[in-house]
Subunit: 302 residues, 4 copies
């Protein structure tokens, strides 16, 4: 596995320079584009790393999985009264469908859906951001995972599109807390800084029927764990979910920080990172690396 | 397995009466609603049946998989110049997205996408319907599979919505043959009559890396086979693809005749049938049967 | 008035070369771009002409007013059961709104609405095209008005977008005759060839409370005449109806042949012609000429 | 005229009870439904009143005309860089079109367009609300016109939909001031309390080529005045602009307080008031009263 990971990184490294680092906020635009990493955490507890796998980066939308898992933990199936688990077929931040469907987001991985999940968590936790940070620290087995407040503040300054989505949902009665407060929490989750190694460990329970081996905790039931994977498979990569299933064939979740997490159920979790994005907003080299991994080990879920 | 299938049918039988048989054409509305069947064909060549598994029914949209496989066989990746493989997030027959995306259908399992695939096949085969029928006979190992011309004619009489989609694509230059001729072929494919046993056998190659054990033919490469499964997983059940992934966790394809085919990669293909549909147009008892099967054998792809 | 018309044509003539002749069918693309004409027919029966005012051109969508008037004559208010009289806010040939509003077109001047009007007329007349031609001959006071069958055939060959609209409406039950037959009629109406002088005379009844002075016939009631003008004012110039009201301030109807008819209620009807179109598909020099006319005589309806 | 107004009110009074008073905020829901008024202000300076014509009510969207006129006064044609003057064909508060057209509202009378106009005015005036109030006092010739702060506050509490529109425009760079501050101004304008007599006087300049007879001020140029009327004619009554043109045939602007102002160019301005609204959100008895007025005096602009 170690040799395979090294080989894959060398094979995708030439893609660096062909994508574009997210630049909608300065704090993300600053990230050096030539960083590249992969980490695999197997169900028997081995961690394999290659490249800059210990360098922390901004997880961004990968945090939407953490929020969803927290919400499932405390509210279970009830959350589906507030949003769906169908692919949206629309850009991640579009309001068109949200208005036509009267403020009910299609799934928890488009921005509107993640905001509803944050609103649900906001109602539940006295200190939602601390609560999330501590949850992620336990999942990652790393007590030093931090929220980058510079990134969170900068995203809040550029909140207009997400604010529009939240107010639109509020206008349909599908938002219960103060919009500005939930936006603050939402951007704090997005601003979590974690390495590929952290994320591979943090997602291991989804490859292992909900059980997190390194911490010994059952995070979700086996059934819930499969359900989260199902939602990642149909909706985890924005507009490119179908293409990711077609090329890689694994449940996954990407972030504009350039990270992508994927799950091989029954075997391992994996995280790749390369800051440059393709036109759909997913890590260009990251998708290629996962495609090669899936090919070489002869494994997609399909 | 045999006992399990019997048990599942008994468990879902009470759902009969809670759905609605498709009635947009008389030939479908006539089907007795109390029929129920399941068939499993394993990768080691065993066929397990329960209920009315030898009764032929109208496969309808399940035929979209056959058309797609034929198109991949002769044109490979080239077909993606004409359509995508992303979930649509829209009803199966909507023209809204098709117009906004300038006549390029999202995937081969919405009607517009299947029409483009038929148009591709129409350009390739001198006798497209015979060609398809013979292909399906070989896949099913049943030389008596027929097209029900009464159903095909009746659907042609009610072609307005599909004609609109085809003409709209033609207006964008994404339709190459005579619209009426392709519609005739399309409705003939939909009007194939097959039993659950036929369909379980016909789909076995998708559970077996493209290899059809009973005929000894490699229908698709292993990679292509996974790709077809990926498209079924993200787009196979109309508006309910996400929910099917969430509840059942298997690649599948449904038809308004009440059939649903699903694939457990590496293990078996399965077909269920019950004519009554839910609000999304998928077999009500069929989805429940597959959900139970997935639960009992502890298997979803996730 | 004569001097004013001459002056206006000279003032707008430099615009020739800045627009684009319609080229979606060869028969329209052939028209020499440097033709320019204006004709005014006053309520006291005087005709004033300048430029190529006796040259016949393809009236195209201007015919939608004739169809509407015929339908009002025989069916009155009943036609509004089949379509609306609200601006669409969408391109003239879009199907998005038509699907969302279940096959009911917004108004009689978008293509879908004109097709419904043709369908209504098709049900009423044994020979709809002859009936229309004779009606227009009487309105224009010119027994030599003809349908250009080369243009009609060519448009039929390129019917895809309009066929899609008609089939979509049929799928919602809002189309009663054979689609192909109605399309043939529709394209024949569009292919009427008339001069500016013909059209100014033909529209005079709309400036005169429904009374056609030269033929002595009451074409519509005063109220109906105002209603047709109202629909032209809010929906007569495709996507540019608001801009036309803002700049010219008169009810009007344009065609892609480069003609625009406008009405000054109580005073006169006017037709301008210049084949080159602006981005919205309306005659570039034609709109400018009407703007100057409205300014110079100090008259808009507002 | 006086007799005619009395007669019209008696004729429409039976409609009271068939509509529905706006109830999205308590302050509006409280208004007694049985109030009814009409006022006409002629170009020769006569005021004719009937019913409760001196009772002040909440002008709501009628204020959008005042904002627009202020913006034209100081910025002229420049405002059209920020929004259009085309009918929208969509509900007054829809975000669908706004997103598809990248944050540029269709016209100044849908909410998004009025918010952009307020944003423009906010940049211009140190005290925008006072500035507007004083402008309206001069137009109405009534120094006691007030903003009802209870209504303004209540609307601000229910700002979600308008906040969504403003933030969406900000995300496209088409909003320059603080969203919350502009919303405060916007709701203050809507909360102006004026009577039918006030409003008839305040709109008289639009019937008189921009000249306000009672104050002796030229508010707009004749051309600008016609342009404002043109926009009212194509977009002044929400989704019902086409129907209002068809039935009444006059430029007009309505508000959910139940007022409608209309203009007979060259003759008079008129205001009707009845708090109960039809399904499109326009005063039910108000539209009927204007239809009768237009019929009886034989006058529509068409």
């Amino acid at each position: 596995m170690q040799a395979l990971l090294n080989e894959i990184l060398e094979e995708v490294r030439p893609l660096i320079g062909q994508g574009k680092v997210a630049d909608y906020i300065p704090a993300l635009a600053d990230v050096p584009a030539n960083q590249l990493a992969i980490a695999v955490y197997s169900n028997d507890g081995e961690l394999y790393c290659a490249g800059d796998a210990d360098t922390a980066f901004s997880v961004q939308s990968i945090s939407k999985v953490f929020s969803l898992v927290q919400a499932i933990q405390h509210s279970g199936e009830d959350i589906w009264q507030r949003l769906g688990h169908e692919p949206s077929g629309q850009p991640f931040n579009s309001l068109v469908q949200l208005e036509l469907e009267r403020g009910r987001p299609r799934n928890p991985f488009i921005n509107a859906g993640a905001l509803v999940i944050c609103d649900i968590n906001q109602s539940r936790f006295a200190a939602p951001v601390l609560s999330m940070r501590d949850f992620v620290r336990r999942l990652a087995g790393n007590p030093e995972v931090l929220v980058d407040s510079r990134v969170a503040d900068s995203e809040y300054q550029h909140r207009a599109r997400n604010a529009a989505a939240a107010y639109l949902m509020q206008s349909f009665g599908n938002f219960h807390n103060d919009v500005e407060a939930v936006l603050r929490s939402y951007f704090s989750y997005c601003a979590l800084r974690m390495s590929c190694a952290d994320l591979a460990r943090a997602f291991c329970f989804l490859a292992n029927d909900g059980f997190c081996k390194h911490s010994g905790a059952q995070i979700l039931t086996a059934r819930q764990s499969k359900q989260v994977n199902a939602i990642m498979a149909t909706s985890g990569l924005y507009d490119e979910a179908g293409n990711f299933a077609y090329r890689v064939g694994l449940p996954g979740k990407s972030g504009v920080g350039g990270g992508i997490v994927a799950v091989v159920p029954g075997r391992f979790s994996v995280c790749v990172w390369s800051p440059e994005l393709n036109a759909a907003g997913n890590s260009l080299a990251g998708i290629k690396a996962l495609e090669l991994l899936s090919e070489r080990i002869g494994w997609s879920v399909f």
